[in-house]
Amino acid sequence: MTALAVRGLNKSFGGLNVTKNVNLAVEPGERRLIIGPNGAGKTTLFNLVTGELSPDRGAILLFDRDITRLPSRNRAHLGMARTYQIITLFPRDTILRNALLALLGLSPLRWNPWLPLHLQRDLLSQARAALGRVGLEHMADRPLAETSYGEKRRVEIAMALAQKPRVLLLDEPFAGLSIDERRDVRELLKAIPRDVTVVMIEHDMDTALDLADRITLLHFGEVIVEGTRAEVVADPRTREVYLGE
């Protein structure tokens, strides 16, 4: 059984083929790194996998279940969570409420129009625990608009982890972070238990290399190289893509 399988996936925007016949098979518990230069189609691939875009051709399977035509929300309920490269949080709310919304998304409570949300102790303690995992518990009640960029990145991760996903998709979790913040986030990601399958996009190979079991290199929408860390690093095509010879 594969945790996440992508078969013959194609997507074009007008005449531009952003995803060309992409195949992926990510084993349960695996850490997969997807690398590639700007415009390689990494985020598009994520958007196809999470259902924000629908593919022209091909199939996507989550634990052998075909989810190609399933809306995003159903994929979330099947255990898929993601973070965004461009921070996509709720700026008017507190950090705690951001985490609460993540939990609410999978809770039947989300349809309830009369219970006071601030009295849902179970949900609140789960939200605080999720923030605790990324070291933000002490500032849970701070409005999101008053937090730093690095803290927002951690809120992104906390929200994804709060949903207890089986497959976690991280879109450039290190983007825009300082060296210290990168180290913190790396420790955070290393601590994710192995029952979670992690697929991570990273533009910068050096930062995320040691987190990965296997690496897929995308270039102009195609899978160029795939293999273990050593194989991909040693492959001449990797150097060609990254260094242009």
Partner: protein, 331 residues
């Protein structure tokens, strides 16, 4: 929760003031104006659910309250009882709301505004042209107000009291709604619809039920409207009526509970009271709205809160002894 906070005291004082107001005013004309403020406040609270909390600006809501008002008037004219007429009017309002929602929620932003505007105009056109039901231009008159529990609502005070009860129920319903998990989900779809889908929320369905709640409150205001004026004709459903309620929501402060109530008071008072002294009252309303947009673009209620806080901070800063400045000098 906490025992008695200043907030609770303020709410209690406000409710008591609203109850004793007609006795203090003691003039049917002004009590009637207060009733109109309350019935428009219910309408504005309903529109605010959509505009303020869902981030969807509708310009067709007069069609929804109008359908409810016409429904009541039609059923009464057909000889039905008040209960049947009220239930039927609300049901008609909700039925049309569902249609509005199904058609307009295909879009957001400007497109949503235009679709609701078009749908509102269709309802207005029907009110004009479907003469066998609406009596066209002449409208429908309602001969008598109901008498719940044997109490006739013919006097200004009795009607005010009934409207106040409905108004308080509407405020309570909105207060509970916005604090609920569903309310949190709704503001989430306003701020980050993409993320909400990825988190597992059914964005369309959340907006649909919010639209239905908004339509329910609009329909309730339509029922109050028909019993207050005892008459309905097509202008009540026109675009200007929708725009007026939207003006109440935006001028008072969209996305707040108090804002639409303040906005409804402002617009109704200018329309009815100031117009008695200033013949160009529309100009006054426009000027006030421009002033609000310039000085408090977020609306009167949040704007006042912001300016009061700033003034408070300024006063505190001045009353404190001069702080050492950071100019390189060590003390």
């Amino acid at each position: 929760m906490s025992p008695v906070s200043p907030r609770h005291i303020a709410i209690a004082i406000a409710i008591i003031a609203l109850i004793v107001a007609p006795y203090a005013i003691n003039q049917p004309y002004y009590v009637n104006i207060a009733s109109q403020i309350l019935l428009y406040a219910v309408f504005a609270l309903g529109l605010n659910i959509l505009v303020g909390y869902a981030g969807l600006v509708s310009l067709g809501h007069a069609g929804l309250s109008g359908v409810a008002a016409y429904g009541v008037a039609y059923l009464l004219a057909a000889g039905d009882s008040h209960i049947v007429a009220i239930v039927g009017g609300l049901a008609a309002g909700l039925f049309v709301t569902a249609g509005f929602a199904a058609l307009s929620l295909r879009a957001t932003g400007i497109s949503f505004i235009m679709i609701t505007l078009a749908l509102g105009e269709i309802i207005w056109g029907l009110a004009y042209r479907w003469i066998s039901i609406t009596n066209g231009d002449n409208g429908i008159s309602v001969s008598a107000r109901p008498a719940p529990f044997g109490l006739p609502l013919d006097s200004a005070n009795a009607f005010y009291d009934t409207t106040l009860v409905v108004f308080l129920l509407a405020v309570a319903a909105c207060a509970i709604f916005v604090r609920s998990p569903f309310g949190a989900a709704l503001t989430g779809t306003r701020d980050q619809p993409r993320r909400m889908s990825a988190l597992g929320f059914h964005v369309w369905m959340i907006r649909f039920w919010a639209f239905m709640f908004s339509g329910l409150l609009s329909s309730v205001s339509g029922v109050l409207f028909i019993y207050y004026y005892q008459f309905i004709s097509p202008p009540a459903l026109a675009l200007t009526s929708s725009a007026e309620v939207l003006l109440m929501v935006i001028s008072g402060g969209a996305g707040t509970l108090l804002g639409p109530i303040v906005g409804a008071s402002l617009v109704v008072i200018i329309k009815l009271v100031v117009s008695a002294y200033v013949s160009r009252w529309n100009f006054m309303l426009g000027a006030i709205f421009v002033a609000i947009v310039v000085f408090m673009p977020e609306g009167l209620v949040p704007g006042t809160v912001r300016l009061t806080r700033a003034a408070w901070r300024e006063a505190n800063r001045r009353s404190l002894p001069a702080q050492p400045t950071i100019d390189g000098q060590k003390s």
